[in-house]
Subunit: 360 residues, 2 copies
């Protein structure tokens, strides 16, 4: 059995529907592992989240980042709780991981799959008009975490949010973007900024994009302002392929992309450290969604697709493809949760995907 | 003639299609003035823009803000030129006006008019699902203009964009938002922030919204994160009425709103100083659009609708309604430019609106 490739997976289900969709992802991962053979996923689950915070005052034990470092990859569900201000929960769990492990690219693909009726006229089904990879800078910019408040509670109170952009941070990210575009059939890259209003960091983005582009002469690239980009996504989806944007701009645009492709319930994300010095993290784009939690209503597709991307990053291409194809097939068969207009439960969709894998 | 109300209008056509749509707006304003009587608009045109910049090195003469102060209102076309970096043109013309005159609310309505086929399934025509007023904080936040670059051109270069939020700035804006909601039939207000990731200024927004809301118990209000807001706009337009957001968030969301209502070519904006100490400014949301400039292709509706809002702000309600109704009627009759799927030219749409006014 020495030829079995072992991958150590840290699993953090977190809060709300994060728990349900993580369970679904692990189930399908086990199904595909049984089917494909040759590799073994060793799951270690961590109960870090809002329940722990309410007991102990902290989302995680002190040494949590070192603990995670001992794994090959991280699978994350969602974090957030009605009783905890979001800026506390998120800055104690998901945001520190992205920054500490220098997961500087967040990959968020959007496709209109067969079986899904997209909300716009332009975004026709798979192989058609909407087939994007949104790349999000994931460690700096508007999420650098700097800023503060003065004169708190007084009439003259002032607060700042300081977005920090480094040449190194932008360049390493945009190189990844040009390389991603290079590998796609259409080789298109759209770099999003707001350099007309934001004269420092976003002008630097424009300049670095210009410089980096010289190394990728085969990539056709253009620039667009973030506001105009929303119009283009709605009205001309076929003109877009790979999209690169700042941390906040892509946060916003990736939710829009998910909505235009049918539902935020199917949108996956890969938080990558392309240098592979640290574990990368895979998670659905959606949040903890307290309103539907515990009701078996959550769409597991975003988590399942994220799991497929995790397998791909671990080098398990065959398994990744199988998982992805089973997920697509289940959608094409109309096995869909309520967010997609279907009537299936979380566990029914998960079982359907597992069954499809078994039959492959 | 002493009973004729006089309004001094500073007209700044600016660049690109700004020039064409401003001409259209003035034409319809004159038509409605002839029809309604009782008021007189005194137009003074200023040739401030990129052409002047290329000649003189400056977009405007030194005393331009004082000059404008002598007017009751400002009508603006667009600014931007392929030969001038956008952050220069915009920070020399449009952005200083918004800040200097403390036009702290930018009002951006979106409606799906009869005659327009909206891009999404959910956004049905007028009186239906999509009928929003987006309010944009217009003087601070991400457009405060602070920030800088260090180690320019070196590998370790760093740039910052400093968003500045003041309690006073947020409060005066949100009061306007609650009052706007109070006057609408449904009395709904949605306050957009990103306080999960942005822990200082956006948390302050949440706190001030909470406080201000107490004075408007009849307004039903909720909060949403800017990323999730894009999903709601696409999928559940009918749940939205008045929307309030930061300068950058609303910049992005208002373009999306325009796209979802049919075209950015119809979206108007009113940059208001609600204290009326300074002139307010009216302009289409769209930009200079060099690609179609000088071709008689620009949609004049955004400028015409902006002109109608200007009349309303000046207290000329009858004229404002007439202009708005003529504009709606022309759309309902299928008189539309290419961006709306029509074949009419700028001047044809303008003439149709003028003719409709004459016949009223
Ligand atoms: C939960 C939140 C902090 C997060 C973000 O803003 O990055 C989420 O919206 C996302 O897109 O992953
Ligand atoms: C031209 C530009 C500076 C401006 C903005 O970002 O405010 C425009 O996009 C708008 O929405 O009015």
């Amino acid at each position: 059995m020495s030829s079995v490739r072992t991958h150590k997976v840290a699993v953090i289900p977190g809060d709300g529907i994060g728990i349900e969709v993580t369970a679904a992802a692990i189930e399908v991962l086990k199904a595909v592992q049984d089917k494909v053979k040759g590799f073994e996923l060793v799951f270690t689950e961590y109960n870090w989240g809002s329940a722990l915070y309410k007991q102990t005052g902290s989302y995680t034990p002190k040494d949590w980042l070192d603990t995670l470092k001992g794994h090959d990859t991280i699978f994350f569900g969602a974090v957030g709780d009605p009783d905890v201000p979001d800026h506390i929960s998120l800055w104690q769990l998901i945001l520190p991981m992205r920054q500490h492990f220098q997961q500087y690219v967040n990959v968020r693909p959007s496709v209109v799959f067969k079986g899904i009726d997209p909300p716009t006229r332009c975004a026709t089904a798979e192989g058609g008009e909407l087939d994007w990879i949104m790349l999000r800078e994931n460690t700096e910019g508007e999420y650098a975490g700097q800023g503060g408040r003065s004169h708190v509670g007084h009439e003259h109170e002032i607060a700042t949010e300081v977005a920090v952009f480094t040449r190194i941070g932008i360049e390493r990210f945009l190189r990844f973007a040009f390389e991603t575009a290079q590998k796609r059939p259409r080789k298109l890259l759209t770099v999003v900024t707001k350099s007309n209003a934001q004269r420092y960091g976003l002008v630097l983005w424009d300049e670095v994009a210009q410089l980096v582009s010289k190394d990728y002469p085969d990539v056709k690239w253009d620039r667009i302002l973030v506001d105009a980009m929303t119009v283009r996504m709605v009205a001309k989806p076929q003109t877009l392929d790979v999209i690169a944007a700042t941390n906040l701009h892509a946060d916003i645009l990736s939710d829009l992309a998910a909505a235009l492709s049918g539902s935020i319930g199917i949108a996956p994300s890969s938080n990558l450290d392309p240098t592979r010095k640290s574990p990368s993290l895979f998670e659905p784009v959606h949040g903890a969604a307290f309103d539907i939690m515990g009701k078996n209503l959550a769409n597991p597709v975003a988590a399942v697709w994220s799991a497929s991307e995790m397998l791909r990053w671990l080098g398990e291409e065959t398994a990744a493809d199988m998982l992805f194809n089973a997920m697509k097939a289940s959608l094409a068969q109309g096995i869909k949760t309520a967010d997609l207009g279907g009537t299936h439960k979380t566990t029914e969709v998960t079982k359907a995907i597992c069954d499809l894998i078994k039959g492959m």
